[in-house]
């Protein structure tokens, strides 16, 4: 992935597939990419964090940007968040503002299906720690 991320839009859901790091090397480029969607109807922003190992304040700036500048305060969802990333979000008090979702198959279509299922049970926050399991 160029810049270690991919952005796709499915209806009103923006899906951001992250690589191993979201930091000062790639976060500004991701924010520029997300800025293209300002003014559009975005109800959910999904960060596929299946591969993510490091999240710096530059990366967190993008998460804030998604919440504050896209759509009308869209729901922020982290998929397959590693324990270290979850701990970072917890450290800065975001675990109540961010939903966490575990998806076995990392393909985007599966994420979309899981989101639809998740939406049907929106009161339930799913979180499962990824503890070093092997990739597919």
């Amino acid at each position: 992935m160029k810049n270690d991320f991919l952005v796709s839009k499915n209806g009103t859901v923006l899906i951001i597939t992250l690589g191993r790091s979201l930091n000062t090397a790639n976060a500004p480029a991701l924010q520029d990419e997300l800025a293209k969607f300002t003014g559009e109807t975005i109800e959910k922003v999904v960060f596929d964090a299946s591969e993510l190992l490091a999240l710096s304040s530059s990366g967190l700036r993008v998460v804030y940007f998604a919440k504050q500048r896209l759509g009308n305060k869209p729901e922020i969802i982290f998929v397959n968040c590693a324990k270290e990333i979850y701990d970072t979000l917890k450290l800065i008090g975001l675990t109540s503002a961010v939903k966490f979702l575990k998806v076995e198959n990392k393909k985007v279509v599966r994420i979309q299906e899981a989101l639809e299922s998740f939406a049907a049970n929106n009161d339930v926050v799913c979180y499962s720690m990824k503890m070093g399991q092997a990739d597919d």
Partner: protein, 132 residues
């Protein structure tokens, strides 16, 4: 111990980070504890973007129990330890990002110490990590 010297530093943050994160002693920790790369990034960006120093020296000390990084810059006096921490009671949609990096450094590391010596800021951070 490794000592790295960077001069000039303006606009060089990515090169500086790349050099530090490729250091053998840092790699030995970063492979198992990725937050070290976050800590290094937060400190280097802070110095490059705000210190107005034209140099940065970094000492890296790795032993069986810990890793210590000491950052020297000749910029304006700045004690990050005394910086006001972000207000996490503010809802996400209204938050400012400022101060988050320093907060993460303080939380991630076991020791964060600031000294002012002559015209230098010296920031020392240490993390206890077993095994080399």
């Amino acid at each position: 111990m490794t000592r790295l010297h960077f001069q000039p530093i303006e606009g060089k943050s990515l090169d500086i980070l790349d050099t530090i994160l490729k250091n053998t002693e840092v790699v030995s920790v970063d492979d198992s504890w990725r937050n070290l790369s976050v800590v290094v990034e937060e400190i280097v960006l802070n110095i490059v973007d705000y210190s107005k120093s034209d140099y940065l020296d970094v000492e890296i000390i790795r032993d069986e129990e810990s890793i210590t990084l000491r950052f020297h810059d000749g910029g304006v006096p700045f004690n990050p330890v005394e910086k006001e921490m972000p207000d996490f009671a503010v809802p996400m949609e209204n938050r400012q990002i400022g101060g988050l990096g320093i907060f993460m450094v303080i939380k991630y590391m076991d020791t964060v110490r600031y000294d002012r010596s002559g015209d230098e800021n010296i920031l020392t951070v240490m993390k206890r990590i077993r095994g080399k």
